[in-house]
């Protein structure tokens, strides 16, 4: 009988572990870009997210990474960096918010609280019109521009706990 209770306890622990594990999720995107392109990450405020960016300049070309604060990084071979976007406030119920052009871009909802996208050939309106904190800061967007020919890969893994 004691063994049955022990087994029940272990089953509860396993269920709890699987719940924790299911709170992790990952998304990725990659594309060859040219001209001015956007790399965008969107997440809800209750997600802790680590994003990895790889930028491979096309052979013989140089790509320029331009961050929103004006910092620039010239890439002649490849450049790799990580960004951690912490959880800010545990608020749910935001509906859906997107930063997109037609069907390209990021779409963040409660059901899919993280998204990444590499959008080639964007104009400035993509950033001015659609970038920025969502109402009440429920969604956080991180983005940068790439000028030139390159291959970009973005992968993100996050947790809602």
């Amino acid at each position: 009988m004691k063994k049955a209770w022990l087994f029940l306890l272990l089953a509860i622990i396993m269920a709890a572990q699987l719940t924790v594990l299911s709170s992790f999720g990952g998304v990725s995107d990659s594309a060859s870009v040219s001209g001015t392109s956007a790399v965008v990450v969107g997440k809800t405020n209750y997600v802790s997210l680590r994003v990895t960016f790889y930028v491979f300049a096309d052979p013989g070309y140089t790509a320029l990474i331009i961050f929103p604060n004006g910092t620039q990084k010239e890439v002649s071979t490849y450049h790799f960096f990580e960004v951690f976007l912490p959880k800010t406030e545990p608020v749910r119920g935001l509906g859906s918010i997107s930063m997109s052009r037609d069907s390209e871009g990021v779409f963040v909802t409660d059901q899919e609280p993280i998204d990444v996208a590499v959008v080639s050939n964007v104009d400035e309106s993509f950033f001015t019109y659609k970038v920025g904190p969502a109402p009440n800061g429920e969604v956080i967007f991180y983005w940068f521009k790439i000028q030139g020919n390159a291959r970009v890969r973005v992968s993100a893994i996050g947790v809602t706990i």
């Binding site: 063994k3 087994f7 622990i13 802790s48 893994i157 996050g158």
Partner: protein
């Protein structure tokens, strides 16, 4: 007549030894389940720690051993330890102790029959039926887990080399079908074995009532 009786009793006692082993197997199964559950908890823990490590420490920082490898190691260790303990429990069942008595001839046969604890035998047969099924199911599940691990490793390797991906669900389904096909003889054997145990149970019920009613003078 005496030889025939002795040979039939020998056959019967051999079946009873087998029944005792299945009964011991059933008793050992909760321990086996607890060991497997512990190993699954340890394996899932590695996944959780690894995921937290990736999100909160760094994507490029990696544990000394990859989480998938640790996951497989914990599961395999659990299975090996569980199987070893069950095996040890089954092997510890004392069998064949009746042989010396049986060698005494007819008096030995009657002595053996009189010493049999019928209630325990019926209980053991019921346990053996359940034990046989549970053992069969557990065996298939364990083989399935091992096959999934093996095929996941192979498909991951293929994916890394040839960029040829396979859906997890397909791997799991294929592994299950493969294990069922490879174990089809064992499943059939177990099915008929349980049927035979049923028959044995009812024959012994009849024999017990007849035997109790008879008077023997050794």
């Amino acid at each position: 007549m005496e030889e025939s009786l002795s040979s039939k009793l020998k056959e019967f006692m051999t079946v009873l030894d087998q029944v005792k082993k299945y009964s011991a197997l059933l008793i050992a199964l909760p321990d086996f389940a607890i060991i497997i559950a512990l190993s699954v908890i340890a394996a899932i823990s590695t996944r959780i720690f690894s995921s937290f490590d990736v999100v909160f420490i760094s994507r490029t920082s990696s544990l000394p051993l990859s989480s998938s490898f640790l996951f497989a190691i914990f599961l395999l260790t659990g299975i090996i330890v569980g199987v070893y303990l069950v095996n040890r429990r089954v092997k510890s069942v004392k069998v064949g102790q009746w042989k010396e008595t049986l060698d005494e001839g007819l008096p030995g046969v009657i002595k053996l029959l009189q010493e049999l604890n019928w209630d325990n035998i019926f209980s053991d047969i019921r346990h053996a039926k359940l034990g046989s099924w549970l053992y069969g199911i557990t065996k298939i599940v364990v083989y399935w887990i091992l096959t999934v691990i093996l095929f996941s490793f192979l498909t991951n390797t293929l994916q890394n080399i040839l960029h040829f991906g396979t859906a997890e669900f397909a791997v799991e389904l294929f592994s299950l079908v493969l294990v069922l096909v490879l174990n089809r003889k064992d499943i059939c054997k177990r099915y008929y074995q349980v049927g035979r145990l049923d028959m044995l149970f009812w024959e012994l019920r009849w024999f017990e009532s007849e035997f109790r009613g008879a008077n023997f003078e050794a």
